[in-house]
Structure formats: structure tokens, C-alpha cells
Symmetry: none
Subunit: 256 residues, 2 copies
């Protein structure tokens, strides 16, 4: 296989999966790691992808005003896998709520091609990304903008959410446990997420396995308020059982 053919393959894989490992290229293309890295380096230079430690992620936001700084860590992969898995619950004609946070943001990659999708979001990056898709209507939740999270919050935002109704809500969190429920680091998030849960029929909590049975500072809602918890495959069978007993179905996304 030639260089160009490899490059095409890399970009195609990246488009479908959101990320690629150096080792993926090694095995798929039968080249050494250094060659794989050189390919990624070149493509990154051209702006087709963003290099990470051990691979690369899709350059989803060349023209995105609110792009997240691309973090170079392994957990990115988990988040993408979780997002990809979650995307299967989003269908044409749906009206969904999308909260802020990197995991939720990754959902954008996988729902760009939905038809007649209505997305209500508090996240500026999500809005900025999804308005590129002509068949998606984006509704931005107004309110004060929280610079760190690039999302709106505050009483006006919470009030604003009550204007809407959605089939499904996709939210992220800093921690979740059976004992304390959903907990977050920032008190500003609390009311907004509560409002989202209130106006949605089904609530999907997206969080990687490292956050399960971890508590953050502020209690937001009991575990019973969520319907599905989507996480990565590093979660133990034991925890899945426990959560099932607590009324939460854990859905496991395979991380490659």
C-alpha cells in the first residue's frame, strides 16, 4: 500500500470512528509505527486531523468558533466511543436536548447526517457544530455564558428550558453513584441540568467509567431520574448489576 492510499484510509477510518490509533495504522496498513506517525503528522499539518498521544482524532471543527482545546489523552477515545454508542438512540425527526461537556460534544460527529433533527442545547460548541448541518434545527438555550464550559446557565437559562419539550436528553456529569446520584463540580450546572431532566421523556447520562461511583461536590439529582447510563467497557459486571437493581440500565460502549 502506498502512502496516499494509507492517507485516504486513515481519513476514512477517522470519519467513521472519530479517532484512530497508531497501532491501527500499523496493523491495517502493515507499516511501522514511525511511518504511521509520520502519516498522522503530515495530515495534522494539513489540518485534516488532530494529533493525540497514540493516535489522532477527527478535526471536527476547522471552522468551529467554539472548539474545545484538543486534549491529548486516552480518555478522548473513551468519550468518542461513548458518544458513538449514544448516537444510535438519536433518530430522524427526533427532538433532543444536549447539554454541554466534551463527551456530549462528541455526539455531534455522529448525528450530522440526521434528517429533521431538532436539537436544544446549552452548549455553544454543540450549536456551532450542528448549524453546519442543514437538516438539523438548533435551539440555543439563552442565559449567561459560562466561559469555562462555553455553555449558558443561570436562572434565565433554566427558565428558558421550560419552554421546550424533548423526547430524550443527553447529559454529562462529573460523578455518579447509587448513594448520591448525579453530582457535579460546579453549582451553576445544577439547576440547568435539573430543568433539562424535567422536560425530557428519557434521560441518557453519558460518562466514562472512571466517574462511576465517584462523587463530586454538588448533588444534582438522584440516580432514579436517569433512564440510561452510557459508559465505556472498563465498567465491571458487578456495577452493571447494582445499577440495574437501582433502576438504571448501563449501556456499555466498546472502546475498539
Amino acid at each position: 500500500m502506498r502512502k496516499q492510499e494509507r492517507e485516504r484510509l486513515i481519513l476514512q477510518f477517522l470519519d467513521e470512528n472519530g479517532y484512530i490509533d497508531v497501532s491501527d495504522i500499523e496493523s491495517k496498513c502493515s507499516v511501522s509505527a514511525i511511518t504511521a506517525r509520520r502519516d498522522l503528522e503530515k495530515l495534522a499539518k494539513l489540518g485534516y486531523l488532530v494529533r493525540t498521544h497514540g493516535g489522532a482524532v477527527k478535526e471536527e471543527s476547522v471552522s468551529n468558533l467554539f472548539s474545545f482545546s484538543k486534549r491529548i489523552d486516552h480518555s478522548t477515545k473513551k468519550k468518542i466511543a461513548i458518544a458513538k454508542y449514544a448516537s444510535q438512540f438519536i433518530h430522524d425527526n427526533d427532538a433532543i436536548l444536549m447539554d454541554s461537556g466534551t463527551t456530549i460534544f462528541r455526539l455531534c460527529d455522529f448525528i450530522q447526517k440526521r434528517n429533521d433533527l431538532k436539537v436544544i442545547t446549552s452548549s455553544l460548541p454543540v450549536a456551532s457544530e450542528l448549524i453546519k448541518s442543514p437538516a438539523i434545527k438548533v435551539f440555543l438555550i439563552g442565559g449567561e455564558v459560562f466561559p469555562d464550559r462555553r455553555a449558558t446557565y443561570g436562572p434565565i437559562a433554566s427558565e428558558h428550558i421550560s419552554h421546550y419539550h424533548a423526547k430524550k436528553a443527553f447529559i454529562g456529569t462529573d460523578g455518579v453513584s447509587i448513594q448520591s446520584g448525579i453530582t457535579v463540580q460546579d453549582v451553576n450546572e445544577v439547576t440547568r441540568i435539573k430543568s433539562m431532566i424535567n422536560v425530557a421523556d428519557k434521560v441518557y447520562l453519558l460518562c466514562d467509567s472512571s466517574k462511576i461511583e465517584q462523587n463530586s461536590l454538588f448533588k444534582m439529582a438522584p440516580i432514579s431520574t436517569i433512564d440510561y447510563l452510557i459508559t465505556d467497557d472498563a465498567v465491571s459486571e458487578e456495577i452493571v448489576e447494582k445499577y440495574k437493581e437501582a433502576g438504571v440500565e448501563i449501556l456499555v460502549a466498546e472502546v475498539e
Copy 2:
């Protein structure tokens, strides 16, 4: 095998496989490497394929680079001058409304260092720009996002604006005339700008001189609703007088 026959085979193979090696041609057609290369060279020249080191790939598989043309033309200069001039009316501790549009967006550059400034905006680019400044609080007007303008609009947006009050509103337009007042190209803009005017003490209309005494499709508000019109130095003294009589002060920004 004839030359033409080889060429046909090469293109066919390329169409099926996406790529071809020089060695493939050598074995398939029983010719030397140099002949194979000459064939590829010719076909590449004609645009049927793209040459690679060691072979060739399909023409379409080479993706194009995204080209950002960030030209600063004359009208951009005017807009910058107008924005710079307008920025002197924005002070520390102010609460202001900023609409969408390129001219208004240029204001961001000149107010980044204000202290305790509250900015209420319908524009995603404005929000994304100003949240970088720690001393500026940004309030985003919620509602449906209008992809072309990267701004929110619709009944929810208009209703949302009524939650706020601001000292000054900075708005743009597609046309303004004494006869028809402020007019815009898009009907979606109408109600939002109206709402903005309603909640602001003073209204600043920013528009370059080419739009003065020009009418666009939708009437938005009579000329009397605006307090100041900031434009560039290509406006005639005669028009300034006329507008003064109509109760609008025209402020002229020098372009360079």
C-alpha cells in the same frame, strides 16, 4: 499489449481498486517499470489520476484543502472604522445589547478590555469572542439558531430579550432611509431587532454609507427609533443634515 490497451487497463484497475502500483502494471502488462511510469505520467497530465510515489491513486481520492480567504477589502476597512468609532460609547460597567452581523462583530476587538461590561447578544461569534475576556459577562439570547447569520431568532428569542434591559443597543442593518426607516433582507431579523430596540435606552445603528438611503425588503422600524447612526466618511453633508432634521444624529468614522 498496446499502449492504449494498457491505459484502458490502468484506469479500469484504478476505478476498481482506488490505487495502482507501478509493479502492478509491470506484471499485468509485462512491461518495464519505466514504461509503466511513463503511462502514469501521461494519464496524470491528462488529469485521469494522481501520481504517487510508486504508483497512482484515483483523482477523486485526493481531498482538497480548505482555503480560508481572509481578505481585508475596502468594505471591511469601513466596517472596522465604524466599529472602532462606536466602541467609544461603550464604557466600564455598561450593560449593552449587541446584535449579529459583521459590523457589530468588529466591535469585539475594541471592547475586550472593558471592565465589568455586560453584553447581551444574539450573535454566536460575538459571544465566542467576548467570553475570552474575563471582565466581560456575556448573556446569550436563546432561541432557534439561524445558521447563515450564526445568530438566534424567532419568537423565543424575542421573548427572551424582554428579560433584559440595557443602556445601549448596537444594531446593524441592510438598509436605512428617512422614508422607510430601517429595513432588512430577512424577515426573521425583524422581531428580534424590534425587541432589542424596545429594551434599550439608546439605539446605535451601525451601517456603512453605501446602505444609507437604500431600502431592503422588510421594514423594521421607523427612523425615529434610532438615536445615533454611525457610518463611514463617504456620507454626504447633505444627508447628515437631512437626518438631523429627522431626529437622527449621524456620527462619521474616518476610514484610515
